[in-house]
């Protein structure tokens, strides 16, 4: 699986994360969902909750409050009302 997913997480004040990742798990209003590269285009509103990003063997978690996720063939964009990286556990 050579393909990567272009992911960007932006809050109104700044871009929290942008880059190529392998998988993103996010909390949608109608259930959590995971996005892999070449996902079918779709769009959903988000609940408050953690967004987990997998890059190779690494995982990074962001706390996200409200907003939208937009999946296009170009990648995944999350427009969050508030977003911050969870402190490393």
């Amino acid at each position: 699986m050579a393909d990567k997913l272009q992911f960007s997480l932006v809050a109104p004040e700044r871009e929290v994360f942008a880059g190529e990742v392998d998988q993103v798990d996010a909390p949608g209003v109608e259930g959590d969902f995971g996005v892999l590269p070449n996902h079918a285009p779709f769009m959903t509103a988000l609940r408050e909750g953690p967004v987990t990003v997998r890059i190779g063997a690494n995982r990074r978690t962001f706390a996200v409050k409200g907003g939208f996720a937009d999946v296009t063939p170009e990648g995944l964009t999350i427009l969050a009302e508030e977003a911050a990286e969870a402190s490393e556990a």
Partner: protein, 292 residues
């Protein structure tokens, strides 16, 4: 000709002024750096938001389209939002925004439209009050907020939306200053309602796949569009802030330089006058001595 003492005082006061303008310039320069960073950091969100809405808008057309996107179908009532800074001493920064807005307002009034105004920032209110005082329906001060965040833009957006829903506005336009560089800020008009979706970007190629929405397309648009207004206002406020400090910095720079020129000119004539006086006194002493 002013006396020597008067000139000395004059030079002293210009020097004091120069110190102030110099200090203001340096403060503005420091704040400019932060403000530009903030403006640049906020850009991706606003851009993505526009892109997402543009994308959605292509799918929703006809009667089903939300009013915020399609407009009320009328062009009678205009709401003009003028965003400036709270403070002055920044050259023509505030005035140029207000002038652009005033031209539009006058144009609309001449065309027989109903125009109402929301002033954001003290200077917008100050400069528009005299001409259009009865048209200003709401005022917002930026100094109420220590740092610019969505909390500053939200009340403005809420007011716009309530006016729109009450049927008091068909078209909403925002005036602000786009930050291009330290010495260049461009007064800009941006139409908020109906949302302008043609941002020149190519439609995203879905490669034949259909977009799926959770919940429905309409529900997403309905929450996204009001949010977009707040976000666009916030982006404008950030641009304004950066532009303001840029304008202030260059205004204070030239003020400092002018003060320097003035000090040089005053010092020259002060010295000349002092020398003239010394020469005069010498002549008096010499001719006094010769007379003895």
């Amino acid at each position: 000709m002013a006396s020597l003492k008067e000139m000395r005082n004059r030079i002293g006061s210009v020097k004091a002024t120069q110190k102030i303008t110099k200090a203001m310039q340096m403060v503005a320069a420091a704040k400019l750096k932060r403000a530009t960073e903030q403006a640049e950091n906020a850009r991706p969100y606003a851009q993505r938001m526009s892109a997402v809405i543009a994308n959605l808008a292509r799918g929703v057309t006809g009667d089903g389209a939300p009013k915020l996107l399609a407009g009320t179908g009328q062009d009678k009532k205009h709401l003009i939002v003028v965003a400036t800074a709270d403070k002055g001493l920044a050259g023509g920064f505030n005035s140029s925004i207000v002038r652009a807005a005033r031209e539009r307002i006058q144009h609309l009034i001449n065309d027989g439209k109903d125009v109402s105004i929301i002033a954001v920032g003290r200077k917008a209110n100050d400069q528009l009050r005299r001409l259009y005082g009865d048209r200003i329906i709401d005022r917002h001060l930026l100094s109420d907020h220590k740092i610019l965040s969505l909390a500053a833009a939200q009340p403005v957006a809420d007011r716009i939306l309530s006016e729109f829903e009450a049927g008091n506005a068909d078209v909403v336009t925002l005036f602000y200053s786009r930050y291009r560089s330290v010495i260049s800020q461009v007064p800009t008009a941006k139409q908020l309602i109906p949302a302008v979706v043609d941002d020149g970007s190519e439609p995203v190629d879905l490669a034949g796949a259909a977009y799926e929405y959770e919940p429905s397309e309409e529900a997403i648009l309905e929450t996204l569009l009001p949010r977009n207004i707040a976000v666009q206002i916030l982006a404008a406020l950030y641009e304004n802030q950066a532009g303001f400090f840029g304008a202030q910095m260059s205004a204070m720079d030239s003020a400092t330089r002018n003060a320097g020129d003035m000090i040089a000119a005053l010092t020259l004539s002060y010295n000349r006058q002092r020398q003239a006086q010394i020469t005069k006194e010498l002549i008096e002493i010499i001719s006094g001595a010769e007379a003895l």
